[in-house]
């Protein structure tokens, strides 16, 4: 169980974490979803006792992150955004060193290492140097390392950043397996909406250090109000469009209409599959051919629509090419560029 209380972190001229309060239950996959620079990683680093908050605190399994940091460290595992294993060593050696650092007793050490390797599917590559691993395998080794000491909470910071779609799906499979087999609480940060949607029991939307919405993915999407219909139209006079939009508003299954100035009418409705034909019929019948429908589509709301609703912005995906993929020298080259 994790309890975050009035957590606040300020850097010189930037508020990275702005008064966050969250309770996370055992056995939950909790997602922190937000654009890059929203404060996700800072929040994770504070919870993992790597950064001290400016004010406020949090408890993990009842241990305070400031006054009981050593106990917090023993009970959590963390997978950083950039792989942090030593790539000159083998996968097994990395695990052995960390099991010593985490006091895994010597009589069960080998068994634990075997178990976690099995869990992430790296048993047959355990004696290869990490520099020979693919990006996805490195991430999985990090997860194995995070599980060595049987933590009750594990933090995954952008677990699939920079992975190709295939490896990403494999990673999702392993994350789901963790919750089922290890009975562990997972806190993951991501800026991929589908990832959060697929994996998380609850999602906290984070933007500029603040939690702006927090609920289960389905509830968040329901909050948008039904499905979304986009009708692209051609028209001569904007007032004609105004008129028709006002009429559509009177259907009881329509929640709201927006953005029609550009010629695309966005309508939030219940049961779009059944109600869309009535809307189209209505438009046809009452506009006397003054307004022509060019195209129609409807879709269920995504988490991006939720973010859009709260912030007026999209969660961008531009950061991908800067992902922490590759070996030490690649990362060094990246660092040198900066």
């Amino acid at each position: 169980m994790i309890e975050i209380k009035n957590l606040f972190k300020k850097y010189k001229n930037l508020i990275a974490v702005d008064n966050i309060n969250i309770k996370i239950d055992n056995n939950e996959i909790f997602g922190l979803l937000g654009p890059n620079g929203a404060g996700k990683t800072t929040l994770i680093h504070i919870l993992a006792t790597l950064i001290k908050p400016t004010s406020g605190t949090a408890t993990i399994n009842g241990y305070d992150i400031i006054s009981d940091s050593s106990k917090v460290r023993s009970s959590i595992g963390i997978v950083f955004q950039a792989p942090s294993s030593d790539d000159i060593l083998t996968g097994y050696e990395n695990l052995k060193i960390h099991s010593l650092l985490y006091n895994v007793p010597s009589n069960i050490r080998e068994k634990r290492i075997e178990d976690v390797l099995e869990l992430v599917g790296l048993t047959n590559r355990k004696n290869d140097q990490v520099k020979k691993y693919s990006g996805g395998m490195r991430r999985r080794l990090e997860i194995a390392r995070g599980l060595l000491h049987k933590p009750t909470v594990i933090f995954l910071d952008e677990p699939t950043l920079g992975l190709d779609p295939g490896s990403r799906e494999v990673m999702w499979k392993y994350i789901k397996r963790l919750v089922n087999e290890e009975k562990i609480t997972i806190i993951l940060t991501t800026h991929y909406m589908e990832e959060a949607d697929l994996l998380c029991n609850r999602i906290g939307f984070i933007d500029k250090g603040k939690i702006i919405a927090l609920d289960s993915p389905s509830k968040l999407k329901e909050g948008i109000g039904g499905e979304i219909i986009n009708i692209q139209v051609e028209y001569n006079e904007i007032c004609e469009l105004d008129e028709i939009v006002n009429m559509i508003k009177h259907f009881d299954f329509v929640h709201k209409i927006e953005n029609y100035n550009e010629g695309i009418i966005t309508i939030y409705v219940d049961n779009a599959n059944r109600n869309l034909p009535s809307i189209l019929k209505y438009v046809d019948k009452f506009t006397n051919n003054k307004i022509h429908i060019i195209s129609v589509d409807f879709r269920r709301p995504t988490l991006n629509d939720v973010f859009l609703k709260f912030t007026g912005r999209h969660i961008e995906d531009q950061h991908d090419k800067d992902g922490a993929e590759g070996g030490f020298m690649e990362r060094y080259a990246q660092y040198a560029k900066k």
Binding site: L50, S74, H149
Partner: protein
């Protein structure tokens, strides 16, 4: 899954055990873990070992052989030529380079996040520090031993006493200088500062140590600089125990200064590690 549950309970019981000696064992295990990683990396990076052995050989044979053919040492009577005279100095040079660089390499550990993964484990900063320094001492000692073997070819004779004091001196100096390197590295954010360490730490330590010249007749300004350099005392101690050549200070003074330096730099290193930021 009965065995898993049993293991889980075992671990909990172990962690609940607050016995002091048990805790001490655990810290030793963690120091061993950090040391093990350094040692494995050292064994695997053969190019580093080859490069760091080759440079001292250049000094010993090219400078020692070349310059040695024209200069004479004050110890010709005891059959010590220039090459033999600088041999202990070259050993100390190898220790200076490998120890300071080893310490400063912590910048790389931080750059590729390995250090972060260690710092998020329940490990004391002083434990990380000690594991690292022991790693540096091991590396320096192995390289010094390779040079010791080469010493046979230039006619250096060893006694059990000279080898024992060789080990003690090398270990003390490498502890001190690995600590120094780690302390500097813990303050540096970027690799650009590495060149500064080479110019302002490594080379002055070497050139101002009397590794290459006797300290008896040097100008006063140089004499002041050499006497505040801890490596000077290591060179003198090593020269006296290996070649029977006495320098400016007697052996006990040399060892005393080395010991104080070692302790002082060790403390500086631990304090720097305590305040080092994790991310």
């Amino acid at each position: 899954m009965v065995p898993k549950v049993a293991l889980w309970r075992d671990m909990h019981n172990m962690q609940k055990n607050n016995n002091k000696s048990f805790k001490f064992d655990l810290e030793l295990g963690k120091i061993y873990a950090i040391w093990l990683r350094e040692f494995k990396v050292f064994l695997r990076e053969k190019s580093r070992l080859v490069a760091s052995t080759f440079t001292p050989l250049l000094w010993l044979f090219v400078l020692g052989g070349g310059l040695g053919s024209t200069v004479s040492t004050p110890f010709h009577a005891s059959n010590i030529d220039y090459q033999k005279f600088i041999f202990p100095g070259i050993v100390i040079m190898s220790v200076i380079f490998s120890s300071v660089f080893f310490g400063a390499y912590i910048i790389w550990d931080r750059k590729f996040d390995f250090l972060k993964s260690v710092m998020v484990a329940p490990v004391r900063r002083s434990t990380i520090f000690l594991g690292k320094t022991f790693g540096g001492m091991t590396t320096s000692l192995i390289q010094a031993f390779i040079l010791l073997g080469i010493g046979v070819f230039i006619g250096v004779n060893y006694t059990p006493y000279s080898i024992a004091s060789f080990i003690v001196i090398v270990l003390m100096l490498s502890f001190a200088l690995t600590s120094l390197g780690l302390a500097i590295g813990s303050y540096m954010e970027s690799l650009e500062g590495f060149q500064l360490i080479v110019s302002f730490v490594v080379f002055p330590l070497y050139f101002l140590s009397g590794a290459l010249f006797p300290l008896d007749n040097i100008p006063i300004w140089l004499s002041i600089l050499t006497s505040i350099n801890p490596a000077t005392y290591a060179v003198e101690a090593l020269r006296s125990s290996m070649l029977g050549v006495d320098g400016k200070n007697i052996l006990i003074v040399n060892i005393g200064v080395l010991l104080i330096t070692t302790l002082a730099l060790g403390i500086v290193g631990i304090l720097s590690f305590r305040r080092m930021k994790a991310v």
